[in-house]
Every structure is written in C-alpha cells, then in structure tokens.
Amino acid sequence: MLLRSPRVSKSEFEAGTGWQLKPEGACRGEVCIPLSQPPGESVDVARVAKDLGMPLVAEAEFGLWALGPASTGSRALATAQAPDLRLPDLSGKEFRLSSLRGQKVLLYAWAPY
C-alpha cells in the first residue's frame, strides 16, 4: 500500500491492506491480530505496521511511504477468504471482487511485457 502521509483514514487502510480494524484487533477472515492501541478513525501507520509485522519503507525525498504485506504467518495468504480486491478498469471505473459473490471466479493475472 502506497502512502503520501504517515497517517491515513481507517477506510483507506482497510482498502489498501485488506485488514479490517476492529475493537478486537486487525482481522482478515477468521484471523485477528491484537493491536497495541484501539483503532480510531485516523490510523498511525507505523504503529499498526509494527503490530501486524508489516514492513514500512520511506522515500523521504519524494514524500512517499510503502507498506508491505503482513508477514504474520509464513505464507502469502493468512486465510482462504479472498480479500475484497478493488481495481480500476480501462476507463478508470473501480471494480470490486465482492460484486461477483454467488459466482465462481477465475482471477487471471497477465502483463503486456
């Protein structure tokens, strides 16, 4: 997840990382990880990153921060529950994976190179 500020709103954090911030902790599917501070509407990214074992890399010269994925287990997936992928189509319109609930989905990755 890319950041232009070390604080982001709760909804931005949730959309960017796939982790839901709840009173019991940061949750994805059935997996919840306790947080050192209860989550508010504004998220101190460095603190939550530490709780979740997410690497945070700063590029101070360009005012950019990148938050890597949580390394809570030893695998890319912490749960089999699919995150709600949100990506734009060619026209820039946002698509949400959860809009296809009720259908079988094959998510196919390709590249023009």
Binding site: R75, L90, L106, A109, Y113
Partner: protein, 245 residues
C-alpha cells in the same frame, strides 16, 4: 482464447476477471484489452497488489474463488485454453525478428504447460463446485500459497515504492527500489519482468518484450539479470512450477 472459454462457462455461474499487472497502467494495457474485446471485468493493477494480496509471482497465473468468496486454489500457473486449430497466439510476429527474440521464443517454447490437466480441472470445478477434488479446503489453500517471510514482505514494499516513483517520473529512484525488490524477492518473475519492461529497446509493441540490455548500449542496463539469462540459468523447463492436482 480465454474469452471463448468464458462465454462457454458463464451460463454455468462462472466469471473471468482479468488483471493486467502494469505500472504503465491503461496506457500499457489498452491495445491488448481492446484487441481481446472482453465481456468480463478487465482490470489494471499498477502496483501489483495481486502480488501482495494473493501471492502472484509470475504471469500468466490464476486464483480460483468460489461463490462464497473463498479461495479454493491459490496463485498457480494458468496455461491458455487448448486451441482446436493449434494456434497459440492471435498476434503475428514480423518475419525479420531480431536475434534476441528468436532466442527468447526458443526458450519460451520449452516452458512447461500443463494445459490439459489444468483445463480438465477447471471444467470439473465449474461443474461440480465444492464436490470437485480440485477445489482445495481452506487449510490447503493457505499452505499452498507462496512462502513469504518478513524479508520478502519488505521486498514487496520496495516494489510498490518503485512502481509509484516510476509513475511519478522518478525513474532513477524507481530503479533503486526495483533492485531492492529483486534482491529480497528472488522468486518473483513479475517484479523482474515489470522493471525490465520499462527499459525499452527499439520501437513498437515488442520494445517491452526485449527484457534485457540493448546490444548497442549494454553498459546502460541497470539490473543484475535479464529474461534470457535468468531463464537459461534455471532452465526454461523450470520456469513454471508443475501443476499440482
């Protein structure tokens, strides 16, 4: 090719969602998407969030997700559907292909493709759902997803930063972070291919497939490896992992 399969399976409650992994965004993907004229969602992923969220490390890859939003097969190589006429590509290549492309094509021809097994499994799953032996239980899905430790997660952060710096026009800074991503996530082909594709050689749609030093300016290549050298190092037959039932 996928479009034909999607049209056939769509009435059975199946949808295809294609995602172009490209820091160059719509500008990079548009010609390919418009040529395919998809009826299914066709998305653009400039930061490779599919790598973070699903563990995608190469293309083409697929993730299967059931009606309840549960992943039933994590990221794995997804060969193109079998073609009745034996054609593998809708794009015709120029006759006077540069020698590097002749070599790339020769290596690419050796890449393992478990086309029949993969597509038989896909049809079985679409027909039988959870009853299909190819729909894996949640524990197996997590266990089969890519290994990722903290150092790899750090590599993902560097990649995201590199992609954004490239989009913002800071190419030299982007290269620094792409190199860190390559060092920390050595098993990701997409992290390498993306960075190599930004060092165009020549003109036209093949410029991004060169994926290596310009023979006229080899000193300028900013990366350790390139597609042809890296594939030859591991052996093209090991480029894709064997498909597991």
């Amino acid at each position: 090719m996928w479009q034909v399969l999607r049209s056939e399976l769509h009435p059975k409650g199946f949808e295809l969602v294609t995602v172009g992994l490209d820091t160059e965004g719509a500008a990079g993907c548009r010609a390919f998407i418009e040529a395919a004229r998809p009826e299914h969602p066709s998305l653009i992923d400039r930061h490779h969030v599919l790598a973070d969220l699903f563990g995608v490390i190469n293309i083409p890859s697929s993730v299967w997700i059931d009606e309840n939003g549960m992943i039933v097969r994590p990221a794995e190589t997804a060969p193109a559907p079998p073609q009745p006429d034996g054609k593998t590509s809708r794009f015709s290549l120029p006759a006077d292909l540069p020698p590097r492309f002749v070599e790339i094509r020769a290596e690419a021809a050796k890449i393992r493709k478990d086309t029949q097994a993969y597509h038989a499994a896909l049809r079985d799953w679409v027909e039988r759902g959870a009853e299909s032996a190819f729909a894996l239980p949640p524990d197996a899905v997590v266990e089969r997803s890519r290994p990722r430790d903290h150092s790899k997660a750090l590599g993902h952060a560097h990649f995201q930063l590199a992609a954004q710096l490239e989009m913002d026009g800071h190419h030299a800074a982007a290269v620094r972070h792409f190199r860190e991503a390559h060092r920390l996530v050595p098993d990701s082909w997409t992290f390498r291919r993306q960075a190599w594709s930004l060092e165009r050689v020549g003109e036209g749609p093949l410029a991004r497939f060169w994926q290596g030093p310009n023979p006229d300016a080899s000193g300028a290549w900013p990366y350790e490896g390139d597609w042809l050298s890296d594939v030859r190092k591991i052996g093209a037959e090991n480029y894709s992992e064997p498909w597991r039932p």
